[in-house]
């Protein structure tokens, strides 16, 4: 029942996106340096990283500032690893988070219009990332939502890359493409993918928006990085999946639930797709002994 509810919500979200984006890009020019789930200092981030210094970060939607703080605030014992941050509360129950900013003093206040100045981007927060982090927290569903679902379409014709795929089990890692055979057993598929972000071909490692895995021609798993929520004290980018099944690790690699590989010839095909619809696929054949 819960899964159906979530699918209906995702359909609604997709419908909204198709009808016309509810939010605008919070920076111009738009240079996405990290997709939903791309790690920062080993922590997968449930939002988008935008690169660029001395640029104006602006509110993606109209709203009301509900929280703001500087990196170090004497009123609280809690430091901010995300530097200065601000939260703009939209009418639709989406909280827009603007973080990794040098300061938010002088930024948008109550009743902020769409495009209101938030802060000048720079180097802030624990990662030293030059840019800022933008995320959407869905207050109705208590979870993070991929901002791409609400943003205008971005012209992108570069396909994502499959950097490395490994089967990990029995304390050993078998890199597909280099391994022709492996012993029968339970293995987790670890997929490392990249997304091209710069005009010069610069790429980042992070999970793809969509991944489909076929084993011996049968679809084993289809995942979309659209929401993230905490399950048993752990942030999961695929909360619909069973506990601990599939996860994004600190390097941005997708680690899938271990599955049994029995004796014989086994084919593995992987298809990944970015948010603009660019695809890449790859396949391997193995002998399981």
């Amino acid at each position: 029942m819960k899964r159906y509810r979530q699918r209906i919500l995702l359909l609604l979200v997709a419908g909204l996106a198709a009808a016309g984006a509810a939010l605008d890009w919070p920076i111009a020019p738009v240079r996405v340096a990290g997709e939903f789930g791309t790690p920062l200092e080993g922590s997968p981030m449930p939002g988008l990283l935008f690169a660029g210094e001395e640029l104006a970060a602006r509110t993606a939607g109209k709203g009301d500032v509900s929280f703001h703080r500087e990196a170090i605030d004497p009123r609280t014992k809690l430091p901010s690893a995300l530097g200065a941050m601000m939260v703009n509360e939209g009418d639709d129950g989406l909280a827009e988070v603007y973080a990794l900013l040098p300061t938010v003093v002088g930024g948008a206040g109550p009743g902020a219009m769409q495009g209101a100045f938030v802060a000048k981007t720079g180097q802030a927060g624990i990662s030293g990332f030059k840019g800022f982090w933008f995320a959407l927290f869905d207050r109705k569903m208590d979870r993070w939502v991929n901002p791409r679902l609400f943003m205008p379409e971005l012209q992108d014709k570069k396909a994502p890359g499959i950097r490395k795929v490994s089967l990990v089990g029995n304390d050993k890692s078998y890199s597909l493409g280099e391994t022709r055979s492996l012993p029968q057993g339970s293995y987790a598929l670890v997929v490392e993918t990249t997304e091209v972000v710069g005009a010069d071909g610069e790429s980042i490692q992070g999970p793809p928006y969509f991944i489909r895995i076929l084993v011996n021609g049968e679809s084993q798993v289809e995942l979309r990085a659209e929401v993230a929520s905490t399950v048993d004290g752990r942030l999961s980018f695929y909360p619909d999946r069973k506990k601990g099944a599939d996860m994004i690790d600190g390097r941005g690699a997708l680690r899938l639930e271990p599955r049994m590989f029995t004796r014989g010839r086994t084919s593995i095909e992987i298809l990944i797709r970015d948010f603009s619809g660019n695809e890449r696929s790859a396949g391997w054949t193995l002998i399981v002994e």
Binding site: S43, D64, K77, L78, A81, G125, I126, D142, L235
Partner: protein, 361 residues
Amino acid sequence: MEEQARRSFATLAAILAVIVYFFVFARPLPRALELRAVWSDAAAAPGLAQAAGTRASGSDLPFEVGDEYGYFDPAKGLRFVAKKTFGVSLSKELYATYDRSPGTLSWKDPGGDLRFETQEPGYPFMAGGRRFLVGPNQSTVTEIGRSGEILWRRDFPSLLTAFDASADLALFGTLDGTLIGITPSGKEVLSFAPGGSRVSCIYGCAVSSDGMTVAAISGHDRQRLVVLEKRAEAYRVAYHRWLASDFTRPIAMSFTESREQLLFETEGGVGIYDAAARREHLLEAESPQGLGAAIPARRLLLAVEGGTRTSLVVSTYEGQRLFTFAFEGEEPMLAREGDSVFLGLRRPEGMRMLRLDLGEE
């Protein structure tokens, strides 16, 4: 003649009445409280105090004033002063300084000796004798043990916005308006969403030193104070009230060491919640800082007033201002030990620490 006798009698009666009043109804005048300066110590140059061989020890108290931090001996003055590169987390037992992008974190004792190092990415913070790291996403917390070992690590549902801790309970407030309490073993013993406001968020939280009472200021459009008490195994709401304030930034709040009073920033000054009577008072003050210091033996509260002029305010538990001690300096720090009050100040010529003793005259 008769008239004169009557007048003399009246005069005599008046004098007698005064004498009788003086001896029979006399009451001693109440002793006036006074703040007496005991010492004032300036940090001439950061690091010099330690270089001179006066190493800080466990009996010294930590301070952080502006971009300087260190330890001072309550009896003598500054022991160790250093300049922050970015941030510092201090307690009586340990301190850890960090750059904006720290790699390895070094946790040192007040004497400057390395106690342990941690590799986990994050900024350190301490309270209630416990050590924590907040991760790069501001949602992950790791508790560090006495020897640097990881006690627990968990991701919270949304960004962390507030924190306080006692020895038994670490209390976290989140952007989604939930209060979560964690024991040193990592067990979640409290999860409570005050709700009721248009926007849910925890702006400030506090936990008493025995971990039995917790409080939070939550919500935007309208904001409220919620106090929970531990009864049997669970925390139950003991008090709540809608506030006139509607801050959208972190709010300072703290229980006094004796757990009798909860102090919090509110519209017009410092809110004082009497935990025993479940009653509130207001200490009118401008930009209050350094909340939580009190002298329980005298039932006095201490706070620093910022704004146009910096001053130390001494008030009763009911919020009645007894006296104000104005001083020059910015970014004040307030500490207390016994009847001694310590004020750290940033001045143009450098950081200065004062010890003021409260006495009666």
